[in-house]
Symmetry: C2
Subunit: 199 residues, 2 copies
Amino acid sequence: MAQVSDSVSKVIEEFAKLPGIGRKSAERLAYHILRVPKTEALGLADAIRNVRENVHYCSSCFNLAEAELCSICADPRRDRTQLCVVEQPRDLMALEQAGVFRGLYHVLLGRIAPLDGIGPDQLTLQQLVQRVRQGEFQEIVMATNPTVEGDGTALHISNLLAEFPVSMTRLARGITTGSILEYTNKEILADALAGRQRL
Amino acid sequence: MAQVSDSVSKVIEEFAKLPGIGRKSAERLAYHILRVPKTEALGLADAIRNVRENVHYCSSCFNLAEAELCSICADPRRDRTQLCVVEQPRDLMALEQAGVFRGLYHVLLGRIAPLDGIGPDQLTLQQLVQRVRQGEFQEIVMATNPTVEGDGTALHISNLLAEFPVSMTRLARGITTGSILEYTNKEILADALAGRQRL
């Protein structure tokens, strides 16, 4: 790469640091940046700078926010008796895009993962307990990921909140709408059978 | 997406404009930007801005350059009797990375593609003829892509340069080293047979 301009090498190197972007893709992106109208290229640069400088975590729920409170916590129309606990802002976004939950959220910013060296102290659990203590929540919906670590985190939280008079629920497990029974696996079928509902 | 911060929506939208980056990947990249150290995020933004503001085409060969001439044209150690004609700067970079050519290049910035409305006038052909007229080239190596359009472009150029006392060559076609004969196709085998070499 001795013959390529330094700026080009640099932008390839920076693109290659992104997740899922290999060396070849990074080169392709760099050439794209050089080919598109200048305003478009600078639009991307500004958007990256802007999001990193303006966005931080909501002081209440740890969702992404540009003000002190995120747009959900600040919205007076949200149901303040329901709290949905998620691992990451992107999980919150998936739920919001589905438009099926009208309560508030609490973002843990991770899950308990001993193998990765992530313990309860690195999550926003203290703040969660504080919110449940002070809030008017009647139901806490655990929406951690349906993985060993997500389930473990949910269990830990349900123990942590056992002293409060709130009902604890978790997202239903079962077969997914639109899937083909034949191609699901044992765990999914076991969940679906265990959680079967009256017709 | 009503609930996501404007800066986040904006950066997702900008990432999604990149080739090969869909909506989901763009979201993943945006969250990556929010998670990495600030210097790394701003490093990417700066690299994009920088490459778009500082890099232009070499006034001689139309390679990417940060000065008037690109680093290859400016390098006194390059062999000025050989000229390799490529479609795009990324083709030049592939050849440079292989390190097998020590002459100069000429970048066409495209190929003749009537179906896409790209005619000879939109390429850097005038400048190529000018360079061949004034230069001391003894050999022109056509390294356009081995496609119908690339071959057509090479043919057009060989007609254009027929009047000059230079030898015109093109990259060899045949089976690729490391490939499996059984899985190559008719065109490749025909090329390989037609270009067979004495052992």
